[in-house]
Symmetry: C2
Subunit: 306 residues, 2 copies
């Protein structure tokens, strides 16, 4: 794999950035990786585990001389970070991000971008329920999709960023910002909100039924708890900044839910059976597309004796 950039600066050192560091090293994609995190604890951990070649105490310092800068902070923090690093960016540098919402990032970043840099927003569709600088691993992006939203950026800067993400193991694609935000509202944002809601309901009831909700969680509920264990700040920002698309999909969701609820109330078994048969097919498509494992129960390891 060829080196794509001389110096990559990562601002924010959580799950995505730390996975990028290990992935960059695995493939030799950069000469040097610098990093910055706002919290002194995170910077200390990053230094302890040798996460970057240099961990800098300010974002402006980290981006100096970098030909690729990637913002790996929650969507709501992008504007402030961009304002801070704008004056320190090297002319000709490419600036990108990994935010789960794209229109809001573009709007937040645009006012602070110097004219002489390339801004190519991106979104790697990868993650786990864990967070922080210790949670990263080089394989996170393997065979996952990274969506680039060039939004008018120079083709050669965009092509270079494609090669970078492909070097990290991803498949890459391009999309318009608004379309990205709608597709992600369906495949990610609304599912997360629903999982958070279901876990919240169960948590309320747990106070009534003691530990039964936890004890008997393996019957389906536990899958929701994994999603609802994702980073609260990141997800707060997603919903605040992708409000319209999320509310639109939520509206469709409640409409469907009420139709199923009415079928249950009226004892309409045929409607339920037809619905459940149709949804079964989509799982097959996802497995055939190589986007999930065929192994039963996600191939979970047998559970240890509690």
């Amino acid at each position: 794999m060829a080196q794509e950039y001389d110096r990559v600066a990562l601002i924010g050192l959580g799950l995505i950035a730390s996975s990028m560091v290990w992935g960059i090293r695995r493939a030799g994609l950069a000469g040097e990786v610098t990093g910055h995190a706002r919290s002194p604890e995170t910077r200390a951990i990053a230094r302890e585990i040798g996460l970057c070649d240099r961990v800098c105490d300010s974002a402006a310092e980290a981006v100096q001389g970098a030909d690729l800068v990637v913002l790996c902070v929650p969507v709501g923090a992008m504007g402030a970070v961009m304002a801070e690093i704008g004056p320190a960016l090297q002319p000709g540098a490419t600036v990108s991000d990994v935010g789960s919402v794209k229109r809001a990032v573009i709007e937040a970043a645009a006012p602070h971008l110097p004219d002489n840099v390339h801004f190519v927003p991106a979104h790697p569709l990868a993650g786990t329920e864990q967070s922080g600088p210790r949670s990263g691993f080089a394989e996170l992006f393997d065979n996952r999709w990274c969506i680039l939203v060039p939004d008018g950026a120079a083709p050669e800067a965009t092509a270079r960023l494609h090669r970078f993400w492909q070097g990290l193991g991803s498949n890459t694609d391009e999309m318009d910002a608004d379309h990205h935000d709608l597709v992600l509202a369906v495949t990610s944002h609304t599912p997360h909100l629903i999982a958070y809601t279901m876990v919240g309901v169960a948590d309320d009831l747990r106070r009534v039924t003691d530990s039964e909700v936890i004890k008997y969680s393996a019957a389906g509920f536990r899958d929701f708890t994994r999603i609802a264990a994702s980073d609260p700040t990141m997800w707060r920002d997603v919903f605040l900044t992708n409000k319209d698309a999320t509310l639109e999909i939520l509206g469709r969701f409640t409409e469907e839910l009420f139709a199923l609820q009415r079928a249950i109330r009226q004892g309409d078994g045929e409607m339920l059976h037809d619905y459940f048969t149709r949804t079964r097919a989509i799982r097959r498509g996802i497995i055939e597309a190589g986007q999930d494992t065929e192994a039963p129960d996600f191939g979970r390891a047998p559970l240890r004796k509690g």
Copy 2:
């Protein structure tokens, strides 16, 4: 492990029954296992893979001389099967089931039960999204819970069934039928309905956006598709027979969902952040209780190149 029963008869040969057969063999829990499935194809497969000592062409034949009979059919079929096997049951036999709803099974079975048998309903909280006689494996019940609902059955028959399920690897517990149905509405039935709904919404949108929903499913949505790939007949029956508890929990769910939806619309980031922080804790409880893996992303194997 001691042999608990001379002859165990399994009616219905899907995921649960086939796992029970391999588990019974692993632990030497029965002298002989007989089985019956309504579909000739299922019986042919069961014979081909040596699933039981004898696969019988009728349920009545399978239960003859059995000291334990377990009904492993969808909840809606329990009454008809019980009517068929009632006259053929051996005096003193224990009759049980593995249905996901308990009050409805008791009501369906009671009219057909001879006085001289012990009826001890049960529900192993175990399963995968796969179904059919080939999907079973001996480890399915290891460290999972099996809830017995004795409903007035003789203590020694109940104690024997506890030992049988413990021999299959389960932890066992007892519960009242109505309480069981409410707890399962929270930990299983409502989560499944919500997953089916979310996948249905995405499937509708897929017709608009071609394959994007599948391609980009790894961002959260794919977890829902696993649950929504579960057996349609089984789940239709669950919702039709646990109607009241499911509708009650669904009511709480939509109430919470509307509160979160309003917070998104009003931009109330504090409410969202607090909510998402609270739900994170319940995941920790489930892992500590040994009911899910701590490995990120359920410990999924790396995805193959598609």
